[in-house]
């Protein structure tokens, strides 16, 4: 019996995540995740800030796709304060959030392949495509990762026609890249050997353990908040939810590939439907200019979005002051780790790494 610390400094724990692993030979017979190495008490920081300023901190939760976090938080506060979002802004939000989903998914697949031992090739192919989207983010939001783009009842900057043309071009090119990517990966015997029937998670366990996102859908549970809550204007788009068969690592990997395809569909529809108009409600402009004058009515709201990692929830309690009384983030990265030990038991060490990779955590969100 050998006890090994994976992390907090380890090449493939995706940050400063740490798990203590008990090994018997190469087999795992015990695994305990240890959290908190990146803990910065996000919630307390937020409770001392005006509502609009918290948006900048939500970027730093899941720093791979800040826009989904922005979306979730904006949605929650809008629910709390009863704000309306103009039509064009709704479309822009969907476009940006879906682009963020693509960014996240291809990055995850790339990193997972790196965990499998592919020497950076899939990762760099993925990053090549990600780069185009990040360039677009830079042009639109001003920053590549820490976008800080959404504001209450709208977005901060408009998508110009040039931006839209760039996105359109990107959508046209993306399937070719996916084809290439799949030719490199999905039928690869080594990858199939490594991923199939590894880290199986049954649908019931996943539901009970509150697993959400692609991990849940890979286990065959049809639950996508975009379809269930129909937040924003997701009810206007025609897209499908890919479901896995077995709930193993391969399914999680492939469900993500399919979700990218669905996201492309949504983007395509959004780009054709997007109307002209305001990008921010005139009434809410003052929130942007004077954040401390924005005082939502006393009450509470729980808003959630389908972030690429799973259900990202924000629980905000207002006491009528400029700062929230209570602000809580339901982090999918954290809760999806509940079943890590169960999935890893009896597998090899190498599998634990890819199981962790397939759950897709970002430490900024896990530890908050």
């Amino acid at each position: 019996m050998l006890e090994i610390n994976f992390g907090p400094q380890h090449p493939s724990t995706h940050g400063v995540f740490r798990m203590t692993v008990q090994l018997e030979g190469e087999k795992i017979c015990g695994l305990k995740p240890v959290f908190g190495y990146l803990h910065r008490n996000h919630e307390q920081i937020a409770e001392n800030l005006p509502y609009a300023a918290i948006m900048t901190y939500t970027d730093r939760l899941d720093y791979v796709n800040a826009l989904s976090n922005n979306f979730g938080y904006a949605l929650t506060v809008e629910k709390l304060a009863g704000l309306e979002v103009p039509e064009r802004a709704q479309y822009i939000r969907i476009i940006m959030a879906e682009l963020a989903r693509i960014v996240n998914h291809i990055a995850v697949i790339g990193f997972m392949l790196n965990d499998l031992g592919a020497f950076f090739t899939p990762l760099l192919y993925a990053f090549r495509e990600r780069e185009r989207i990040l360039d677009l983010f830079e042009a639109v939001t001003g920053s590549r990762l820490m976008n800080n783009y959404f504001c209450f009842s709208g977005v901060k900057r408009d998508l110009t026609d040039a931006n839209l043309a760039v996105i359109k071009k990107m959508i046209l090119k993306f399937p070719a890249f996916l084809e290439e990517f799949e030719a490199l990966l999905t039928k690869n015997e080594i990858l199939c050997m490594r991923c199939q029937n590894i880290g199986i998670l049954s649908g019931e366990t996943a539901t009970n353990a509150g697993i959400t996102g692609p991990v849940l859908r890979a286990s065959g549970v049809n639950y996508d908040i975009r379809k269930v809550d129909r937040y924003g204007i997701y009810d206007r788009f025609d897209f499908k939810i890919p479901l896995g068969q077995k709930g193993d690592v391969y399914d999680r990997f492939y469900v993500r590939v399919l979700e990218i395809r669905e996201s492309l569909k949504i983007l395509d529809q959004a780009l054709t439907q997007i109307p002209q108009g305001e990008i921010i409600n005139k009434k809410s402009l003052s929130i942007l200019k004077m954040p401390r004058n924005f005082k939502p009515p006393v009450g509470e709201a729980y808003g959630r979005v389908e972030s690429p990692k799973g259900e990202l929830g924000f629980y905000v309690v207002s006491d009528g002051t400029p700062q929230p009384w209570r602000y809580h983030v339901r982090a999918p990265s954290l809760i999806n780790l509940t079943v890590l030990e169960e999935m890893c038991l009896g597998q090899k060490i190498a599998d634990a790494i890819i199981i962790l990779g397939s759950i897709d955590i970002v430490l900024g969100e896990t530890d908050r």
């Binding site: 005006p50 900048t56 192919y125 042009a139 001003g142 039928k187 401390r292």
Partner: protein
């Protein structure tokens, strides 16, 4: 049943194709994607934001900032420090005597730009800000933060021209207002 090992070979085919295309294709079509940084540079988008800077019109003395302290209060990581300049009589001169930004703390969120009612603080495009020492080297004082409106126009033409027009309109309005009701200064309220 597909041939065993076919997937592996197909993968090798993909990498080989990329190997070949890296020699004679353009970056967008599967060529080399690297930007050779110090020599080649990608142009930054107009909206790109890095660290804040202060705008002056014409000469550095004509600074737009009136040291109202809104950005100081709203800055989420609290990296701005402003002290009002006092004139001989000890009255506030509506000008900052000290304006420090700790680049080590700043997180490029752009809140200061959003809240500033005087269009004086904006996010810069310069990203090569390195200093040998964290405590002192990264704190920028007023002198280093001040940049001309021409520079602003150069890096963010659309926004700068919009703001120039707005300021002009306000100025003219002020002038028009000042002529009948002579010498009634109304301050530089250029907010939306």
């Amino acid at each position: 049943m597909t041939l065993f090992g076919w997937g592996v070979l197909k993968g090798m085919g993909v990498t080989f194709k990329n190997f070949l295309t890296s020699y004679f294709r353009k970056p967008d079509e599967g060529g080399i994607f690297t930007v050779q940084y110090p020599e080649e540079r990608e142009g930054t988008a107009e909206n790109y934001r890095n660290f804040p800077f202060l705008v002056y019109d014409g000469a550095p003395e004509k600074i737009r900032c009136v040291a109202c302290g809104i950005c100081e209060r709203e800055c989420p990581p609290k990296c701005i420090h402003i002290e009002m300049e006092l004139d001989a009589a000890g009255k506030p001169a509506r000008k900052p005597a000290v304006f420090d930004i700790d680049y080590g703390l700043c997180m490029n969120c752009g809140m200061c730009e959003e809240v500033c009612p005087f269009d004086s603080i904006f996010m810069d495009h310069a990203f090569e800000v390195a200093a040998p020492e964290r405590q002192i080297g990264l704190v920028r004082h007023k002198k280093e933060l001040l940049k001309s409106n021409e520079y602003f126009r150069e890096i963010r033409p659309a926004l700068a021209s919009a703001i120039d027009q707005k300021r002009k309109a306000v100025e003219e309005k002020k002038k028009a207002a000042a002529q009948p009701a002579s010498s009634q200064s109304s301050g530089g309220t250029g907010s939306l």
